[in-house]
């Protein structure tokens, strides 16, 4: 029977040939996190990676950098003194893939459409108004100082679309665009941008094919074709070893070991920070009467063996000294990180009074893993430490569709989750974890809970001097580490595996691999 199968397989493969990329085809393998290639509706990692190559933004970043914006469609820009007005001058050479020139009207259309379709990334435009004083200038204004606008405009969600083409295919930027915009299907069948590649085909479960934009106004694309394929992680690893893929996106540090001589590994830090929190909602359950107690938070903070967690996370991982990832302004140094102090944790546990009241820890439990780290394994490690100081814990993992709503609706006693930035700036964290903000509310940490932290957040969000901003972000984190119900755990490594026939592969916190920069080695 086996012999019969073997002959059949050999005979068919001999005809179709090996799965190798053609001379100018780049094959990128990833586990799809993808909904569409409509910039206004796509906010997932794979979508960002693809849209970064199809659409250009006003500003962007080079390589894996996420700190210094460089020109995109805008050749220059200026910011007023209190960071409420951002003026961008469109590069006169910039043109779409159909050869038409990019104007300020296209930028206004694209950004307003993003704002009004009310899609996943629409909140990026909250509080931002866009206008065009002339065909070559775009002005973004905000009511309050918002220095992070320069980072926000780099998001692929703010990619510039050819407004005439998109309007002709059902697109609109009107206030009621959430009901009236019908361009989604069109933008999944072809692109309308100015990037070095255009969309050839889109399939949500198999592959997305990009082809070279022959009219690209910048440096020519490195490949005639890029095929982004949906491939399980274990198969990505085998293909990397065999050399049949160009880039593997999702390997963990452990999986990136022993891949052989055909590949090189780009190793960076993931933009995700794993953390544990204690609910401050006193009225939610018997346990939260105590988890909302500062002593209980202290007990958890000092009970955890952070070194053990970092060892589990593997090569390249570091303890997260604060919630702001290591490559953003104002990130803390390793010396600032919380250190395990079991004696202090036990004293705090006794003072907290929770005793034998069971407390549950929620997490993504159906095999959920990000950056190669399993939520269940991480929670088990933390659980072991908490039990050692006296906590009676219950592990409450559940499938993501069940556990995520519980976390988001403040229905957990404790939770182990992660945070990845929506835009590459530290305000992403100060505006998400302070009392009364997004995750703050999920922790039951309402506005007015901590005046020092809230004041630091307010000052950091409006400060325009880079050095002063960084200092405020640091101070904010140090205060958070002292008193907040949030305890940062680990920042894993981010790995991209690249065949040696490819150069320019980097790891970026928002779009992972910048396909526009990747080129053949020769």
């Amino acid at each position: 029977m086996g012999i019969v199968f073997s002959f059949a397989l050999v005979s068919t493969v001999a005809v179709s040939g090996p799965v190798s990329a053609a001379a100018k085809t780049l094959t990128v393998e990833t586990v799809f996190q993808l909904t569409s290639t409509d910039p206004a509706r796509s906010f997932e990692q794979t979508g960002n990676m693809i849209n970064r190559a199809l659409y250009e933004t006003l500003l962007t970043y080079k390589g894996g950098d996420a700190a210094t914006p460089v020109p995109g469609v805008a050749s220059k820009w200026k910011v007023n003194a209190n960071a409420t007005e951002f003026t961008f001058t469109i590069n006169p050479k910039a043109k779409f893939s159909d050869g038409t020139k990019i104007t300020s009207a296209d930028v206004v259309f694209s950004l307003n459409r993003l704002k009004n379709v009310k899609g996943n990334p629409s909140s990026l435009m909250n509080g931002i108004t866009v206008s065009a004083p002339n065909a070559g200038t775009v002005v973004l204004t905000t009511a309050a100082p918002t220095p992070q606008v320069l980072a926000i405009v780099t998001s692929p969600a703010l990619g510039i679309l050819n407004s005439k083409v998109v309007k002709a295919n059902g697109g609109t930027d009107a206030a009621d665009a959430k009901d009236t915009d019908k361009a989604l299907d069109f933008l999944k069948s072809q692109s309308a941008g100015s990037g070095p590649y255009t969309l050839k085909s889109f399939n949500l479960t198999t592959e997305v094919v990009l082809v070279k934009n022959t009219k690209y106004w910048g440096a020519a694309a490195g490949y005639d074709q890029i095929v982004v394929r949906n491939v399980p992680v274990n198969v990505q690893r085998l293909n990397a070893i065999k050399g049949t893929s160009s880039i593997a996106v999702d390997l963990s540090p452990d999986q990136a070991e022993g891949l052989g001589s055909k590949v090189y590994v780009v190793e960076g830090k993931a933009s995700n920070v794993f953390f544990i929190y204690l609910s401050q909602n006193k009225d939610f359950s018997d346990a939260t009467k105590f988890t909302s107690n500062a002593k209980c938070v202290e007990a958890v903070r000092y009970a955890i063996n952070y070194n053990k967690i970092v060892r589990y996370a593997g090569r390249g991982a570091v303890q997260a000294p604060g919630i702001i990832p290591s490559f953003f302004s104002g990130s803390l140094k390793a010396k600032d990180a919380i250190k395990q102090d079991t004696a202090r944790a036990k004293t705090a546990f006794d003072a907290c009074g929770i005793g034998t009241t069971p407390v549950s820890i929620g997490f993504w439990g159906d095999g959920g893993a990000v950056n190669g780290l399993s939520f269940a394994s991480l929670t088990a490690l933390v659980d072991e430490d908490l039990r050692a100081v006296g906590f009676k814990t219950k592990l409450a993992g559940a499938p993501i569709a069940v556990s995520l709503p519980l976390y988001r609706e403040n229905k957990e006693e404790m939770g182990l989750w992660l945070w990845g930035p929506d835009w590459p700036d530290s305000t992403n964290d100060t505006e998400s974890f302070s009392p009364g903000t997004k995750v703050g509310l999920r922790m039951g940490w309402n506005a007015g809970s901590d005046s020092v932290i809230e004041e630091l957040r307010a000052r950091a969000s409006t400060e325009t001097n880079p050095k002063k901003r960084a200092a405020l972000f640091r101070d904010w984190q140090l205060e958070m580490n002292k008193r907040s119900p949030l305890i940062p755990l680990v920042q894993p490594a981010a790995i991209v595996v690249s065949n040696k026939s490819v150069v320019g592969t980097s790891d970026h916190p928002i779009w992972k691999v910048n396909l526009a920069e990747v080129r053949p080695a020769n």
Binding site: V13, S16, G119, N126, R229, V235, E409
Partner: protein, 358 residues
Amino acid sequence: MKPVPAKVSVFRKILRGTGLFPFIVKRVLTSILLIFGMTFIAFSITQLVPGDPVAANLGQSAYSDPEIVAAFEKEFGLDQPVPVQYLRYIQKLSQGNLGISLSSKRPVNEDLKEYFPATLEIALIAVVIAMILGLLLGTISAITRDRLPDQIIRVVSLTGVSMPTFWTALVFFYVFFFLLGWSPGTGRLDPGSEPPPQVTGMFTIDALINGDFATFKQAFSYLLLPAIVLAIYALGVLTRFTRASVLEILGNDYVRTARAKGLPELTVIRRHVLRPALLAIITVAGVAFASLMAGSVLVENVFSWPGLGQYAYRAAVGLDLPGIMGVSMVVATVYITMNLIVDILYRVIDPQLRKAEQ
């Protein structure tokens, strides 16, 4: 009393009839009722899951924006009470509309049109492999009872039934793709290759219809390994079932009579053993085919095969109710259709059943 219209009268006559055609009509009508019943059960069970499709489908920031949440709920009808959602679903379903998928953001009909043929393609090849080899091995096993060939085949079939499909898929992929290089890898075609123009959605068939033999060979090379993996479990079951059926029939007097008459052994097996054994084997093959269609998710995942299983998994994880309902409808229809086909074949193969009805 009003006279009964001619059409109604004919319909009643059909329903009261005892032939094959009335049987099919009655079964189809029952099937429609069964499918509607299934929609109610699937809808209710999905509502019992303590999750939130909005949270599962929107990002961190979007979920915190009430306007975006409201727009999402309105777009997918989640702002309506559950009974209203169900009634609207049934109303659309009666018009052949399965709704819009929360995860793919396109009509479920279109999704199923793409994913169902992919699964059907591997399941068909798998069931053909399993039936041919299962019949052959099961018969050999029965006629060599307790001898070496029987022992070997029993071990092989038991292994097929016992091995988890996911594990088999991983091992086969590793051996035939990575070590031996006999399989081209994951997916349905080489990276960047154009699929043939869609007629059936099965790439091998569509390529043949289009006269594109190169694409046919390429599609077949990708198809074969996942189909073999999928066939292994069904092969184990069919082999064991065939063996049991053949052994039972071999003990009958008429088989001994046939042999005593001096008929060649092959003729005895073919005419007097396999034909009656087919009844039971067809039943198992039908159910096996339906379960291959429904249970291909793990194999599809390992081979990145964009079929119904992967679609079902994504729909379940994202609490994509229209997607879940669409898959449930397809699987229920396949099961019901397979049972109907098996029952019809029973009547064709077994004259006693036809006589009993008459």
